[in-house]
């Protein structure tokens, strides 16, 4: 294969992988924003906690049992999903629910506070060092010829993201809870008046958002091979950029924004300079905020009288 073409394909695939991870986190941001109009800045920490849960559970299982790596991956993924969802729901109950009728800025500050608390909690409970994460995803033999292009882990990340996306779309379009979520997002009081228990809807939203973030955390840990307490911060900010890029509150927007962001970072790093990949992310954010503040797929919000 022509080395230039190969290099380009590598960059595209790596961009798609990055985009997939951002999408898994951005979905949580955008869903929570859609429902309670709050930027949940502690969302990146939920992702980090998901990765740590998988590290601990997976590590213990790898040492104490003879289970196959895929089984261990499955178990640690489920554990991470449950543990992170519990964190997400508790976070909402402690830090956001009492502030539901407070000015939005108050809840935002509460979110930043929770983010710092969770980071420092993991820092104290674990360590500040990067911990090695032994990949639990074995190499599939059918991929070996193309291994220099696409690793198994990358493929697993993309497929998982696709499945999660499909699941969410079905959930929101066709289920009773999905319809309740859409109603709650549009008008909380009216939703209650048609008999929807909005506290349950909000809790459910945090469960789903935290679960997808945890899946992202476990996958990225397998991909990069190391984690520490700080990974949630940058990932959270990037996913936030992706959500704003696509139009915050819009689920397809979050996915589109994530892939645009992942691609830009990957191609920018590959062809311009890898030292600036974060700078590209924020450059796009600034451009979008200037030229289309509502985001790529966001609706221009009409102020209600």
């Amino acid at each position: 294969m022509n080395p230039d073409v190969k290099y380009f394909l590598q960059l595209v695939l790596s961009g798609l992988t990055k985009g997939s991870i951002y999408a898994l986190i951005a979905l949580g941001y955008t869903m929570v924003y859609g429902i309670i109009k709050l930027i949940n800045f502690a969302h990146g920490e939920i992702y980090m906690i998901g990765a740590f849960t998988a590290l601990i559970i997976g590590g213990v299982l790898q040492i104490t049992t003879e289970l196959s790596p895929l089984v261990i991956l499955g178990i640690s993924l489920v554990a991470a999903v449950f543990y992170s969802a519990a964190y997400g729901v508790t976070l909402e109950k402690i830090a956001y629910k009492p502030l539901r009728n407070a000015p939005r800025l108050t809840a935002l500050i509460s979110a930043i506070g929770m983010s710092l608390i969770l980071q420092n909690f993991v820092l104290l409970a674990q360590t500040s060092d990067f911990l090695p994460f032994r990949s639990m995803i074995p190499d599939f033999s059918f991929l070996i010829p193309g291994k220099s292009l696409l690793t198994t882990t990358q493929l697993v990340i993309m497929v998982t993201t696709f499945v999660v996306m499909l699941f969410l779309t079905l959930l929101i379009k066709f289920t009773r809870m999905g319809k309740a979520m859409r109603a709650t997002a549009q008008d909380k009081v009216m939703a209650q008046l048609v008999g929807i228990d909005i506290n349950r809807v909000i809790t459910f939203t945090f469960v789903i958002g935290s679960a997808t973030a945890a899946i992202g955390g476990v996958l990225i840990a397998n991909h990069t091979g190391q984690i520490n307490f700080y990974i949630g911060f940058l990932a959270g900010i990037k996913a936030f950029v992706a959500a704003v890029l696509g139009g915050i509150g819009s689920i397809p927007g979050a996915v589109l924004g994530s892939f645009v962001l992942g691609m830009t970072e990957s191609l920018g790093a590959g062809y311009i300079s890898s030292a600036y990949d974060n700078a590209f992310a924020f450059l796009i954010l600034i451009l979008i905020l200037i030229f289309k503040p509502s985001g790529l797929l966001g609706r221009n919000e009409v102020e209600k009288v």
């Binding site: 699941f167 079905l170 959930l171 066709f174 289920t175 009773r176 809870m177 999905g178 319809k179 309740a180 859409r182 109603a183 549009q186 008008d187 009081v189 009216m190 209650q192 008046l193 048609v194 008999g195 929807i196 228990d197 909005i198």
Partner: protein, 259 residues
């Protein structure tokens, strides 16, 4: 004597220093059409908001009697719990779920009575499918009763104004209420639409057996529809009775026209 559905005793609502509603009493019996009238700012919508749980009353008791005769004090209950007790309402300013279709707006009123979960939605088992078909059929029926079936698949925000008002009523009916609270249902309607609304409201009561409490400024509609009228002025219930009694009540004339 028929059963009392809604009983309001010595109820007040205070916002800071303002007594929006002051020691009001009111009761509504099954099968009645009752109107609540009064000048702007009299506290009518505040009373609706307290009855449906949007606000928590400051003083007094509001109770709803279930069809089985059990009385429940609703002060401080969440709106969705009150909806389950059989109260449904519309708003003065239209509050439809504007990005959903007319049919979906009605379907969502069925929410508390459904059971299907995510697995049902994905695997489409026969129980889920039957439940969904039943909801669609029921909702289409409600739309038909209000003459809205031609709009079923249009987005709620694209409907003509009068149709949006009716759609609010349709959504409220989907919760299968025993008592329907209508907040200025004729506001912004032309005389033709208002006459039709008059018939529609009567039909809802006669055919569906739903008791009606409405706030309305259109006096011809109020006089033609209601069997009893309550008059609220500056938060105080100044009169109640049949349309004839209220029309000739000096306190009411004073409230509307001044000295």
């Amino acid at each position: 004597m028929s059963r009392t559905i809604l009983d309001i005793k010595d109820f007040s609502m205070v916002f800071g220093g303002l007594r929006a509603v002051d020691h009001a009493n009111m009761h509504i019996d099954e099968g009645e059409i009752v109107a609540l009238i009064g000048p702007n700012g009299a506290g009518k919508t505040t009373l609706f908001n307290c009855v449906t749980g949007v606000y928590t009353p400051s003083e007094g008791d509001i109770s709803v009697v279930s069809p089985l005769g059990k009385s429940v004090r609703t002060n401080g209950l969440k709106p969705n719990r009150i909806t389950e007790l059989g109260l449904a309402r519309t708003f003065q300013n239209i509050r439809l779920f504007s990005s959903m279709t007319a049919l979906e707006n009605v379907m969502i009123g069925r929410h508390p009575k459904l059971h299907a979960g995510i697995f049902g939605a994905i695997f489409r088992d026969s129980k889920t499918r039957r439940e969904e078909e039943a909801v669609i059929e029921d909702s289409l029926n409600i739309l038909k009763k209000l003459g809205l079936e031609k709009y079923a698949n249009d987005s709620a925000s694209s409907l003509p104004y009068g149709a949006q008002r009716l759609l609010e009523i349709a959504r409220a009916m989907a919760t299968e209420p025993q008592l329907l609270l209508l907040d200025e249902p004729a506001a912004g309607m032309n005389p033709q639409e208002t006459r039709e609304l008059d018939d529609t409201i009567k039909r809802i009561r006669d055919d569906e057996g739903i008791t009606i409490l409405l706030i309305e400024h259109d006096m011809s509609l109020v006089m033609s529809l209601s069997e009893r009228i309550y008059v609220l002025d500056y938060g105080k219930m100044i009169a109640s009775g049949t349309p004839e009694e209220v029309k000739s009540n000096p306190a009411v004339i004073k409230a509307y026209l001044g000295e």
